[in-house]
């Protein structure tokens, strides 16, 4: 079983396919869960405090917007854990944790420069593309130890 990071990091389809094919999908909601279930913090909605953008300094300098660094404090540690990655081309409707394009660019860069196997795809738009999409993911995941 390999730890596979998916991009977009909040994708239901990708994380589902990774998990149903027997691997561990590394996803942002798990990081959000750690924050929102932490006791003693009361900072709705995400329980993020100004400390999170500071933790993000590990991934981006202080002249990078606070929203990028805050998001990186959630996604960065997941990238560090990843043993493989599936990256789907930006479909133009990413919101929320994936709603900042600057963060997304940094995330893709850090994944690609990490040196783990990466599968590049686009979201399917018809049945033929969907078959190829699923098949490529299956083959990629089967090749991981």
């Amino acid at each position: 079983m390999a730890k596979v990071i998916v991009y977009p990091p909040t994708s239901m389809i990708l994380s589902d396919l990774v998990e149903r094919m027997g691997h561990k999908a590394l996803v942002v909601p798990e990081a959000v869960r750690r924050l929102v279930t932490a006791s003693g913090i009361e900072s709705p909605p995400l329980n993020m405090t100004p400390e999170e953008p500071k933790k993000g300094l590990r991934y981006a300098a202080v002249d990078v917007p606070s929203g990028v660094r805050g998001r990186m404090s959630l996604i960065g540690p997941i990238i560090e854990e990843a043993e493989a990655a599936i990256i789907v081309e930006d479909p133009g409707w990413l919101t929320g944790c994936a709603g900042c394009s600057r963060t997304n660019e940094l995330v893709r860069l850090l994944i690609r420069t990490k040196g783990v196997p990466v599968l590049d795809l686009s979201y399917p738009t018809n049945d033929a593309e969907a078959k190829v999409f699923v098949s490529k993911i299956r083959t990629f995941l089967e090749g991981l130890k």
Binding site: I13, D16, A25, V32, W93, G96, P124, N126, D127, S135
Partner: protein, 138 residues
């Protein structure tokens, strides 16, 4: 640790969110269930949820999808009723991907040869464009 997961059904699946909810209600599992318009949200101990997810998937292996969620169901910190309305930003991503689920479901269920996809259209060769312009102007 308590975890929360979305169980989302493809619009072409014969299984309805209410079927899933009924199955959980009638099961031995001690989990919290909340029905939504696109599926159900389940919350419980990690091992329990993982076991349950396997059983739910079996209802329609290619038509049911699972996604992790950070917030427990109905969490007032995220609930739109308590937070001045408006869907939480991440909702639009679930909506976008949900529309794609029938494609993914059919692909998962498919067992034949993977089709060749014709390559994406390339720009017209400059020579051909030149001919068209010349013909158009003459």
């Amino acid at each position: 640790m308590l975890v929360t997961k979305y169980v989302i059904t493809s619009s072409e699946s014969n299984i309805l969110p209410s079927d899933i909810a009924m199955k959980i209600y009638g099961s031995k599992y001690e989990v919290l269930v909340k029905e939504t318009c696109f599926g159900v949200v389940i919350n419980g101990e990690e091992e329990v949820i993982n076991a349950l997810v396997k059983e739910i998937r079996a209802l329609d292996p290619a038509g049911i999808f699972i996604k992790d969620r950070g917030f427990p169901p109905g969490d007032p910190r995220r609930c739109r009723g308590r937070r001045g309305g408006g869907a939480r930003p991440g909702f639009y991503m679930i909506e976008s991907e949900s529309k794609m689920l029938p494609l993914i479901s059919r692909a998962l269920a498919f067992q034949g040869d993977i089709p060749d996809i014709p390559e994406k259209k390339k720009p017209l060769p400059i020579k051909r464009l030149e001919e068209i312009i010349k013909n158009g102007l003459s």
